[in-house]
């Protein structure tokens, strides 16, 4: 089964919500994940951040929707870690 374990995103977001509220809101939408945010550039009203999301089985559309609902937009997907682990069900 193919599972996304890690996604690194380049995101443009408004100053508000701040980094703490932004990452907390994303983590609430994707249970069991860890979110790391690094600010790389700052403008008068916006900031560019690198968002690293790690988890057992991440869904990009859920993370993307969460970012969009917070006023942010994804500029690029910089890194993705995907695993194809063994099937959960044993053949009969």
């Amino acid at each position: 089964m193919v599972q996304v374990k890690r996604i690194v995103l380049d995101v443009l977001k408004p100053h508000d919500p701040n980094g703490f509220d932004f990452t907390t809101a994303i983590a609430e939408k994707t249970p069991g994940c860890s979110v790391k945010l690094t600010v790389t550039a700052m403008d008068a009203r916006t900031e560019t951040v690198i968002l690293v999301v790690e988890g057992k089985n991440l869904h990009l559309h859920v993370i993307s929707e969460a970012i969009g609902s917070l006023g942010g937009s994804i500029h690029s997907i910089d890194e993705v870690d995907v695993e194809n682990g063994p099937d959960d069900t044993e053949p009969a």
Binding site: P14, D16, P17, D21, D43, A44, R45, T46, S69, G71
Partner: protein, 195 residues
């Protein structure tokens, strides 16, 4: 209901509008309290005014203050929030209508307008309570007009104390300052009143 309140708190914090709402509450609440105080002193100076007349006049002013607060704050806040959203959308080069910022621009003017209107209305109603409860005060030898006046002074003092807590100044001094404004208003009415 709980999730809606949580959403409103989140949007208020996000746009830092809770500061605006708090300011409106104090400013218009103080406005309401001082207006009621002025009316009560005016009626006291007039003498021989029947209680229903006092209640009707004060209630009319309380409703007008509430409506004025709601409409003025709504009109100005809608314009402000729309401008803020447009500027943010320009910076983000994106439509933020469906984001938290878009929801805040639609919802918060209503919330702020309600705070701005309800503060003077609710405070006025509290001050008028002794007038409504006049028959209950009679056995206690309390005069309704004077009791309402005393209640107005207490509320004005408490608003000052609240302002003192916000600005981290000594609460008693902040309360006495607003009480001084009430005393000045009362003195002016007594001095300038022709009756």
């Amino acid at each position: 209901m709980t999730s809606m309140i949580a959403e409103l708190i989140w949007l208020l914090t996000l746009t830092r509008s809770h500061v605006i709402a708090r300011r409106y509450f104090v400013v218009n609440g103080f406005d309401g309290a001082l207006t009621m105080l002025g009316l009560l002193v005016g009626f006291y100076v007039s003498e021989d005014v029947r209680l229903p007349v006092v209640i009707n006049a004060c209630l009319g002013v309380a409703i007008a203050l509430g409506m004025s607060g709601i409409s003025s704050a709504y009109i100005s806040e809608v314009a402000e929030k729309r401008r803020e959203l447009r500027e943010l959308e320009k910076a983000m080069v994106a439509d933020l209508g469906q984001s938290a910022h878009g929801r805040a621009a639609r919802l918060l003017p209503v919330v702020i307008a309600c705070v701005n209107g309800m503060a003077p209305f609710a405070i006025s109603l509290i001050i008028l309570m002794p007038l409504f409860a006049a028959p209950l005060l009679e056995p206690l030898s309390l005069l309704p007009l004077q009791s309402a006046f005393a209640l107005a002074l207490i509320i004005i003092f408490l608003l000052g104390v609240y302002l003192g807590r916000i600005s981290h100044t000594f609460w008693l001094w902040a309360g006495l300052r607003t009480l001084l404004i009430a005393a000045t208003t009362t003195t002016l009415i007594f001095t300038l009143s022709p009756g």
